[in-house]
């Protein structure tokens, strides 16, 4: 099983990933980016967008 994961220290909180997500599975909150795993379809668009490589699709532990 795969999931979308975030490397917090690479995230610049620009919100671009939130804007490209068609499924509203990302939310930029006061404390930083939050992934709503239940809505994520693993479409990979946010991973392709992310300028710093902070988002990636990884194996679920």
């Amino acid at each position: 099983m795969k999931k979308l994961s975030l490397k917090m220290d690479l995230c610049g909180e620009c919100g671009g990933c939130v804007a490209v997500c068609a499924f509203e599975s990302l939310d930029l909150e006061s404390q930083g980016l939050r992934i709503k795993e239940e809505l994520c379809t693993l479409c990979n668009d946010c991973v392709v967008f992310c300028p710093s490589g902070a988002l990636e699709i990884t194996d679920k532990e």
Partner: protein
């Protein structure tokens, strides 16, 4: 619901603070929400703006300005650059000071500013109209009533989505950017540089925008659909190594630049979208500050008129979209058209365009040329560029 407002503005960037300022000056009850704990952070901007763009603010504070641009350099992949003197081409701002000042100006005029205050949803009345906002602050949720919502919540614009606007960006309609604030050498403090090429920055460009005291915003944007999974950061690191002999990184930031498209929607019911939230960005250069200021200002003016003439139907608010597009629509559509060409250009096309400009600018007074006039001249001189569009369906 707790308090009643005439208008709630979501986002205290340049668009939101302009709108809140205009409304507050006209004695309306305005709430300006900023979800971050500080106005002006995190910074996601290259900070360049034209004099004309900045003058939309009306009262310009010299403390906002970090450097004045006197020259522009365009560098194609071969390195055979074109450098033109272009006095008063524009300015590089300090957005941290600028954003904070604009928000405080709105506050001084009577707007209520709340930081660390995130809008988390819209509230509908029994007729299906938006009548309020749910807001989370310090871990607690509260509800506020409002007649109008101005969405200035940036590229992610959740307000637009909650209102049912399909504003998700396609990967070819957004730029993925990474930027350093560098102390760097060598640097021409009066010259902004644009570096073009499909290998340097596919579907985008690299830039050097001086900020005074040996500092510069040095960044790179790509169109992610053309990037073959290479990250803007990797390309920027490569560019910086090549461009500078010595450098130290003072800050880094990421950015998403939404490109204007015909789909961009500015009004829905009593919700007005401004700035990046409405995708009001020049799709060729990625410039968005001036459009944010102008859209915020017009949104504030139209909202104020609507509130004064109480009997108007929310249809009146469409005047905001009409007025903004009357001023900026043609320009934004033209840049959007140029972006389509730009995304198809090959390295030899960049060389040809810059070669053409070298000749063209010899005979023209560059200070009198607008970017649009120059782009039109490029397209006239090189009809081959238009052929790049032949496979596109409009």
């Amino acid at each position: 619901m707790k308090d009643k407002y005439d208008c709630i503005v979501v986002g205290a960037g340049p668009a939101g603070s302009m709108a809140a300022w205009v409304l507050a000056k006209n004695k309306h009850k305005v709430l300006l929400l900023e979800k971050h704990k500080e106005v002006g952070l995190p910074l996601c901007c290259a900070e360049a703006v034209s004099f004309r763009g900045l003058s939309i603010c009306e009262q310009v504070n010299p403390a906002w300005i970090r450097s004045k641009i006197e020259k522009i350099a365009l560098c194609p992949p071969s390195g055979k650059e074109l450098k033109v003197s272009y006095s008063s081409a524009g300015l590089v701002l300090d957005r941290k000071i600028f954003d904070r000042d604009l928000a405080l100006r709105a506050e001084s005029s009577g707007a209520e500013l709340k930081v660390n205050a995130q809008a988390v949803g819209l509230i509908n009345n029994n007729r299906g109209e938006i009548c309020g906002i749910r807001m989370k602050k310090d871990g607690r949720e509260s509800e506020y009533q409002t007649k109008i919502v101005i969405a200035a919540d940036g590229i992610e614009s959740m307000v637009g989505r909650w209102a049912g606007i399909d504003n998700a960006l396609k990967l070819e309609g957004v730029d993925s950017a990474y930027q350093y604030l560098l102390k760097a050498d060598p640097l021409d403090q009066e010259c902004i540089e644009f570096h073009l090429g499909t290998k340097i920055a596919p579907g985008g460009y690299a830039w050097v925008f001086p900020k005074g005291k040996g500092l510069a915003n040095v960044g790179l944007a790509i169109t992610p659909s053309l990037g073959n999974n290479i990250k803007a950061k990797e390309l920027l690191d490569f560019f910086v190594m090549k461009r500078f002999k010595n450098f130290s990184v003072v800050e880094w930031m990421t950015g998403g630049v939404p490109a204007f498209s015909r789909r961009s929607q500015l009004v829905k019911g009593n919700i007005l979208l401004t700035g990046d939230a409405a995708r009001l960005v020049d799709s060729l250069s990625g410039a968005g500050i001036a459009n944010a200021l102008l859209s915020g200002k017009i949104a504030g003016q139209v909202a104020s008129e609507y509130l004064v003439n109480g009997g108007n139907s929310p249809d009146f608010l469409k005047k905001y979209e009409e007025e903004f597009l009357k001023i900026k629509g043609r320009e934004l559509r033209f840049y959007s058209y140029c972006r389509k060409i730009y995304l198809k250009m090959r390295d030899e096309d960049f060389e040809e365009v810059i070669q053409f400009l070298k000749e063209y600018l010899k005979d023209e007074d560059s200070t009198r040329l607008t970017p649009i006039q120059t782009l039109k001249a490029i397209l006239r001189s090189n009809p081959k560029l238009l052929l790049l569009l032949r496979h596109l369906v409009w």
